[in-house]
């Protein structure tokens, strides 16, 4: 009768996922977290008080407008700005703050406005690529 198992220290190999998470509370195999290259449909925060909205007569950029993540923290937040005018559209939700580590290592995040509007409150949704 043979056995399997972790043969020795130092033989951890990334690769095989022990199973898809199937809604069972996240228990299952896990893989190394990789640097994200696509983050879709991010609803920016604090749009109404951000530079673009304030300086452009309460207007917002149309879908398709090119955007990027500023490589410097602004008032404690990672922010998304228009690529051409570099005006802040809104704050990246804090759950994406970890991207700063990748940005520090040279990653550049850019993308497009997916949708924007004023109802019920000013909003901008973007998709970013790394």
């Amino acid at each position: 009768m043979g056995s399997t198992g972790s043969g020795s220290f130092g033989n951890y190999r990334i690769g095989r996922n022990g199973g898809e998470t199937s809604g069972k509370g996240g228990i299952g195999g896990m893989e190394e977290i990789e640097c994200p290259t696509l983050i879709e449909n991010i609803r920016l925060e604090d749009v109404a008080t951000s530079e673009f909205y304030v300086n452009n007569n309460s207007t917002l950029p149309a879908p398709g407008t090119k955007v990027q993540v500023r490589d410097k923290v602004y008032l404690g937040r990672l922010v998304v700005e228009t690529e051409d005018t570099k005006q802040v559209l809104g704050n990246l939700p804090t759950q994406y703050n970890y991207l700063l580590t990748y940005i520090t290592k040279g990653m550049y995040y850019s993308g497009n406005v997916i949708s924007s509007g004023n109802t019920p409150v000013p909003f901008v949704v973007v998709t970013l690529n790394g």
């Binding site: 198992g5 990334i14 690769g15 022990g18 509370g25 923290v73 404690g76 759950q95 580590t101």
Partner: protein, 439 residues
């Protein structure tokens, strides 16, 4: 003088039953090795003085060299037990289910004089992780030590009393510490009172995903720092990373900044099981220090969470499998939130009830809804009542989360209404902190 930290404690074999690679469950050296990885990554000199079973000696010596320790001393041996720590749930969505195999028959024997190790290595700081070895003797042996002593009161520390020990620089514990839960009644005020006789300089209280609090006894002053959310691979040893970075005082006596730096480094540890990746990312943090510690994070203290009511909208019916609902509720309670389950509190509407009785339950549920700060809709089945509650709560402007573990939801109103749309309990817990963090 350059800092050199002597780390005292046990070494375990952490066995992650939920992280399976091609060789099986992931194993790596744990216990004081977590702190060792932190000191190595931030470039602070350190020495190990450990308790472990014989069979681990070669691996401990080898990996202490890989991690560039300045010395590795076997303080004591552990017999009759392998010091293998099974970890059932690596990410601390709820209780992690640590199981120390054969711990009850372990025998600890000191084989080296601590004072000899101290005299040889001349540490500026000593970081002690109490275990079931004779921690009291360790502290008595350090009565004449003139450097800074930091003690982690997480495990096996209920019997450490102030009368026979040297003055401590830092007392460290967390919300899952037995001392905090049992001896300090789970509240910060009692925690401060309990440790006042120890005459320590600081008490550092880590509140897992809600950040941390540090109290200065001499200044009678509080410092706080947020936690920094990352997609988490594991939470094992993350607190030890925090400890190591905090006591290293890399940002000269600036307590709050040192806490924020510790939090960022702890987050880097949680992202990966690979030391090399951790080290590179810690160096990235140190290379962009002001920005990294200037970031807003999640600050939601243990005590703030207790008064937060979370409405759990779900088909909590007798004929429905509510296992995931129960697990979610238990996880929320583990993090000190207050889940409110309307059917269990107000009752279930039955066909035999009068219209007035049914209306009363409806009103009671609405009252409960209005007292809650967050709603989590759990889609165990496609239940109309759950979705109506989601819509009503969202209209109040308060945050909502949808938990859709079985991929039931196809409707755009349901996917776009909540602040977060989650597939696992882990995601729900993370989203809960994001929704409720201090702004």
């Amino acid at each position: 003088m350059d800092k050199r930290v002597l780390i005292i404690g046990e070494i375990f074999v952490d066995t992650h039953l939920d992280i399976i690679d091609i060789n099986g469950p992931l194993i790596r050296l744990g216990g004081i090795f977590h702190s060792a990885r932190a000191f190595s990554a931030i470039g602070v000199e350190y020495v190990l003085a450990y308790y472990a079973p014989d069979y681990l000696d070669d691996d401990i010596n080898y990996y202490s060299c890989v991690l560039k320790s300045q010395g590795c001393f076997r303080l004591g041996e552990v017999k009759n037990a392998p010091n293998v720590m099974l970890v059932n749930e690596s990410r601390e969505v709820g209780d992690q289910g640590y199981y120390n195999i054969l711990k009850d028959q372990a025998v600890y024997t000191e084989i080296e004089q601590l004072t000899n190790i101290v005299n040889i290595t001349k540490p500026t700081d000593i970081l002690i992780y109490p275990g079931r070895y004779d921690t009291k003797k360790i502290l008595i042996d350090l009565r004449d030590y003139k450097g800074r002593i930091h003690v982690d009161f997480h495990y096996d520390s209920e019997n450490i009393k102030p009368d026979t020990i040297p003055v401590l620089s830092t007392i460290i514990l967390s919300t899952s510490s037995i001392v905090f839960k049992s001896l300090c009644n789970g509240n910060v005020h009692d925690l401060i009172s309990y440790f006042k006789p120890f005459n320590a300089e600081f008490i550092l209280f880590k509140e897992n995903r809600g950040g941390a609090l540090c109290y200065s006894f001499p200044k009678d002053n509080y410092y706080e720092s947020p936690a920094y959310y990352v997609p988490t691979m594991h939470s094992v040893g993350v607190g030890d990373i925090y400890n190591a970075v905090f006591i290293s005082d890399l940002i000269n006596r600036d307590t709050e900044k040192n806490m924020r730096l510790a939090s960022q480094c702890a987050a880097r540890y949680a992202e990966t099981m690979l030391y090399e990746k951790f080290q590179v990312n810690v160096q990235a943090v140190l290379g962009n220090l002001e920005q990294m510690i200037g970031l807003e994070g999640v600050r939601l203290s243990w005590e703030e969470r207790k008064i937060i009511n979370i409405y759990i909208a779900a088909p909590d019916f007798p004929d429905i499998n509510t296992l995931l609902l129960d697990e979610l509720s238990e996880s929320l309670r583990y993090h000190n939130f207050n889940p409110r389950l309307p059917i269990r509190e107000n009752g279930i509407v039955r066909e035999t009830m009068t219209p007035e009785e049914k209306l009363q339950i409806f009103r009671n549920d609405l009252d409960l809804l209005s007292t809650c700060h967050l709603l989590i809709a759990v889609l165990l089945i496609n239940d109309a009542g759950t979705l109506v509650e989601l819509g009503m709560f969202a209209q109040s402007g308060k945050p909502t989360i949808v938990f859709d573990p079985y991929n039931i939801c196809q409707n755009m109103f349901v996917t776009h209404t909540p602040n977060y749309f989650c597939k696992t309990i882990g995601e729900v817990i993370d989203a809960t902190y994001q929704c409720l963090r201090r702004r």
